[in-house]
Symmetry: C2
Subunit: 91 residues, 2 copies
DNA sequence: TAAGTCATTATCCTATAGGATAAATTTTAA
DNA sequence: TTAAAATTTATCCTATAGGATAATGACTTA
């Protein structure tokens, strides 16, 4: 049966990634953690890649595995993290 | 400065993906939505790929964009979804 | 003022995530 | 009991996500 594919605009997904990155940065800074330290904590040697994900530059963004590790490093729950994101996203 | 890379075991990440998939299935079924309908709702024509993500088969799992669309389709918040996942994951 | 630290800009390379196909199996409904 | 619907199994292909590098810029510290 032919059904419509996703009608959620790519712009909305991109915006969501932007907000996710923004809140990762806010939380990281609040814990006085450098981009380098956070990058290493999630298993990445590239500060540049990390920076681009936080800032959603060149279409880079955090994936599920990154976020899982970031939250663990920050000592917070994924659900709490997304609570923050949602509050920002819907306003 | 040389610092340790992520010490979170890959098995833990895999387990997390498994639990995420499990809860997507539970919620989908509770809303009487077929795998086909959900796959199409998130912009995927392949039921097989969708099934493999729900069941974490052949290392397939949902990514952030999938989950965003799934939650929107289910009419729930990402934070609420992860609340469920976390309760299951830590027990 | 200079050196060190931290972050950003831009681009390149490639392994794999993404997602398809087809056949088989299981479940449901007629 | 059979057919249809739904899901699973397994594998293949390729565009891009993942992540690197190098240079540059901004900020902090000595």
């Amino acid at each position: 049966m032919d059904k419509t594919l996703s009608e959620i605009p790519e712009k909305e997904i991109k915006k969501y990634h932007e907000v996710v990155g923004k809140h990762v940065k806010l939380l990281r800074e609040s814990k006085k953690i450098s981009q380098l330290d956070m990058a290493l904590a999630i298993g990445i040697k590239s500060i540049a890649f990390y920076s681009n994900c936080e800032n959603n530059k060149y279409d880079k963004h955090f994936n599920m595995e990154h976020l899982y590790k970031i939250c663990k490093t920050l000592g917070i729950q994924m659900s709490d993290f997304f609570k923050e994101v949602e509050q920002d996203f819907s306003s």
